[in-house]
Amino acid sequence: MRTIQDLRRDEKDTQSLRSRSGVIFFFLLILIISGVFKILQLTILDRVNYETESEKNRIINIPIYPARGLIKLEDGTLIAENIVTKDLYIKTKLYETSIDQVEQLNDKVLDENRKITQLQVPIQDEEKIWLARNLSEQELAKYEVQKNSIPNIQLEAKLRRYLPHKNLFSHVIGHLGLINMDERLSLSRAEYPDDSFIGKVGLEKSYEKTLRGKAGISLMEVDVYGNKIREINRVLPDKPFNLTLTLDLRLQKIAQEELANRRGAVVALDPKTGFIKALVSSPDYNPNILNGSESGSSVSKSSMENSPFFNRAISGLYPPASTIKPFIGLLGLEEKLITESTIVEDKGFFQLKEEGRKYRGWKEDGHGKVDLKKAIVESSDVYFYELASKLTIDRISSFLLRFGFGEISGIDLINESKSILPTRNWKLGNIGEAWFVGDTINIGIGQGYISSTPLQLAVSLSAIANRGKIFQPKLIRNNQLDDYEPDLLMEVQIENPRHWNIIEKSMISVINSWNGTAHNLYEEGGITIAGKTGTAQIKSLTDQDLTVREEYEGIRKDIENRDHALFASYGPVPDPNLVVVVIVENGESGSAVAAPIAKRLIEQYQININES
């Protein structure tokens, strides 16, 4: 039974419970209020920040790199493509501890010809050491068998640049290499991650942007562990452009074959368009090794000392030697200092004044009575010594400049050297001396301070072949259309266009006349070629007391001192379609060594044209 007392006590009890509940609730209220504020802050005030944070958490951008653009010939022959290579590597930090595995790889997987002979000390700052590149099918099969016993050696598949013709186009296409510190500075990591390959020389470098294309982006949703969940969006990469080379495969092959085991360069171009048809520098190298698509050594042992990476065709500076004579002769005609029939007595040397220095010609006894044609055909030095001394350096250099001497041609390759066309100021600035008449006399036979690159010589010569028009030399066709409009680089205007013919006739006679320096090329009923031989002296004949022959014999003993053989030519006349310049270093005789190469190229080109 509940009594009044019970009820009173209940009442009191409840009262106490209520008030004590109030106290507890007050404490909890602090938590409630701060919680409410925090939740409002999170969801209302800072919502945008947290939304960004949450997106940043889950979305990563993965760049998609397009396959590098292909390089083809006009007929579609692939010159540079991308192949999947399978390479074996070992992590640098594991190398020390797994030399036995490398040895096992050596013994059981790799082919005979690419054994890792010396286990080179790893370079510390590289993450991976490449043990073998571009495994063959057989090696791959062997690797699959051995895989488990050599766990530290791993396989990586990659798209790499591959040139099916290997060395043939090395100085045109160039090669790729890992991005270096200097390139890093100007390129973003998004476009070029640290392990990306970038064009280093050749067309690979000058057309890097076009060939690489623009990377796309894949927006990928990831979870906390970085696992890819799904692709949210994808921006496809800009497809890189394929390039079409102007080169002619057969000409290129002939040039390479002819220059094999020699140092030298061949440049062949179409004077009507400026398209380069052959560009070879020897020795060459195998770009595939540097591109990582082939294993082995990029240069042969014999070419190692002869700067195989140096592109002689566009960077090599040589005295133009006698090949400059047609230009000097043309200037003489233009300046009316000589006519076709002006005769000079060539006694084997030229003196400015009595008792002065003797400028000797290459033929000790001289050529006798020499007119312009004979001077070019027999390459009389004395004739041009005299002509040059009358022309003065100012007229010579301003005239040669119009042909592109002393300029770069602007071909689409990097590292083109600027040829040297000396003037009075040039000598003052570069040598620190005043200009002497003697200097001019040397220029008259293409010696002395003047120098040309094979490419520049070909460009300049195309002006004669083309009656003044010089087209921009190019390796890449801008479009595939047949009605391609060539870029006019410059046009040499002369007062009397008949002078072109005089010079050309003389150059044809260099081959066709019995006394021509390149008469060895002559063939009854063959293609008419206009050309000029040249023999660039490395050591000048300065000793007054020795005869030319005696002094020459002394110099000849050392191969390095032998003259460079030059031949500058074009054909067929009339309507020439190929200008060819050949330089063979220390080849001595332009006619014997250089000229036959040019002839083969011009003849082959006619066959190619008739075929297509």
């Binding site: 507890i24 909890l28 999170l42 969801t43 958490n57 949703e221």
Partner: protein
């Protein structure tokens, strides 16, 4: 009564029509419906936060079902009939806490879990509700006034449990266990002079307590002050959970659309951190709705408690009401980053069978305080 005309509808009719089987069975329909609503919502959230694991939801629903049956069963018992059992269940709790220290389940760095073959549970989760209920039952085991030594015994009982949990070691839970023990003691009328004596003692021993804390426990306390202190530890967890709630905004990202939770950026998203999944997927709106239902549950608890007949019932209801509120507040505060990380699940929602069943048992006790209404 015997002279009532059986045909007198004016008397019989209300009696007949007022009988509602649901009201009889559930006693407080509002409370039970609110509970079921929260439980169902919890199952839905569990599906979302567990990486859409159907088996985990099934498992949890079995506990929910068993818990509800037990709740209804207890709610129909007379408090006097189970008061003794409640009082002695303290010893079971204590034994479990001692047992777990010596026979912890394998695979954990701390001794918190007991493995009994088909499932694992944390005794500390049981003791959190057993302790206050046994204290209430002890204090009101007789009708007579509570004696001074009763205050001491109950305080010691709470301290004992708290210490055993601390030994696991689990600082946060040990504080919570103690708090859930002290709430009923205080509500029962713990004299203020005793409180003053306790506080005096605390001031003397607290330096010793701090120096005995383990490094990681100190770390947990320090994390509270700076969430950037350890980017991949607790601070990182909190930052991720805040990001989830914040990015949910007002309307949320939608059910199963929460990127933070679906991509596993939220740690323990199905258990202690499930609140951040709710925030991310349903936004401020969802949080508010959940809080309103919780508020309704707490309001019903106090309503039942303050109108109950016996002191035991009143004290039990009010204590459980506060403890329920306290667990919600601690869990939410931890998830939003205003208090350090402690292992308290969100009541009735977080994954964990023990927690659900024990909570529903407590609700059974609360419901039993309500007189049956005919």
């Amino acid at each position: 009564m015997s002279n009532r005309n059986p045909l007198d509808y004016s008397i019989n009719k209300p009696l007949v029509t007022s009988f509602n089987p649901f009201r009889y069975l559930f006693k407080d329909i509002t409370l039970v419906l609110a509970l079921i609503a929260v439980l169902l919502f919890g199952l839905a959230m569990l599906y979302s936060s567990s990486g859409q694991s159907f088996s985990m939801v099934i498992r949890q629903s079995i506990y929910v079902f068993v818990g509800l049956i037990m709740m209804i069963f207890i709610s129909h018992l007379k408090p006097d009939s189970y008061k003794n059992i409640l009082m002695h269940s303290y010893w079971i709790g204590l034994l479990l806490l001692i047992y777990v220290l010596f026979n912890p389940a394998e695979g954990y760095t701390t001794s918190r879990w007991i493995d009994i073959g088909f499932f694992q549970f944390q005794p500390s989760e049981v003791i959190r509700l057993i302790l206050p209920l046994s204290i209430v039952a002890y204090l009101h085991r007789k009708e007579s006034k509570i004696r001074l030594e009763d205050w001491l015994y109950t305080t010691l009982a709470a301290l004992m449990c708290s210490y055993l949990v601390f030994e696991q070691p689990d600082l946060g839970t040990s504080i919570i266990v103690f708090t859930s023990g002290i709430i009923p003691i205080y509500l029962a009328g713990l004299p203020y002079r005793v409180i003053a004596a306790y506080l005096g003692m605390l001031a003397i021993v607290s330096p010793f307590i701090w120096s005995s804390l383990l490094d990681y426990q100190k770390q947990r306390v320090l994390t509270y002050f700076d969430s950037n202190v350890d980017p991949l530890g607790d601070g990182w967890n909190i930052a991720q959970s805040q990001t989830a709630i914040g990015s949910g905004g007002f309307f949320g990202k939608g059910y199963l659309e929460g990127t933070q939770s679906q991509l596993n950026f939220i740690p323990e998203s199905h258990s202690d951190f499930i609140f951040s999944v709710i925030g991310e997927e349903f936004g401020l709106m969802g949080i508010t709705c959940l809080f309103l239902v919780y508020a309704m549950i707490i309001w019903r608890i106090f309503k039942i408690g303050l109108s109950a007949q016996s002191a035991f019932e009143r004290l039990a209801c009010c204590s459980l009401g506060f403890i329920f509120l306290l667990f919600i507040l601690i869990n939410v505060s931890m998830v939003i980053g205003i208090i350090p990380v402690v292992g308290v699940p969100l009541p009735l929602i977080s994954q964990g069978g023990t927690s659900i069943v024990v909570h529903l048992l407590a609700f059974g006790v609360i419901l039993s305080a309500k007189r049956p209404q005919l």
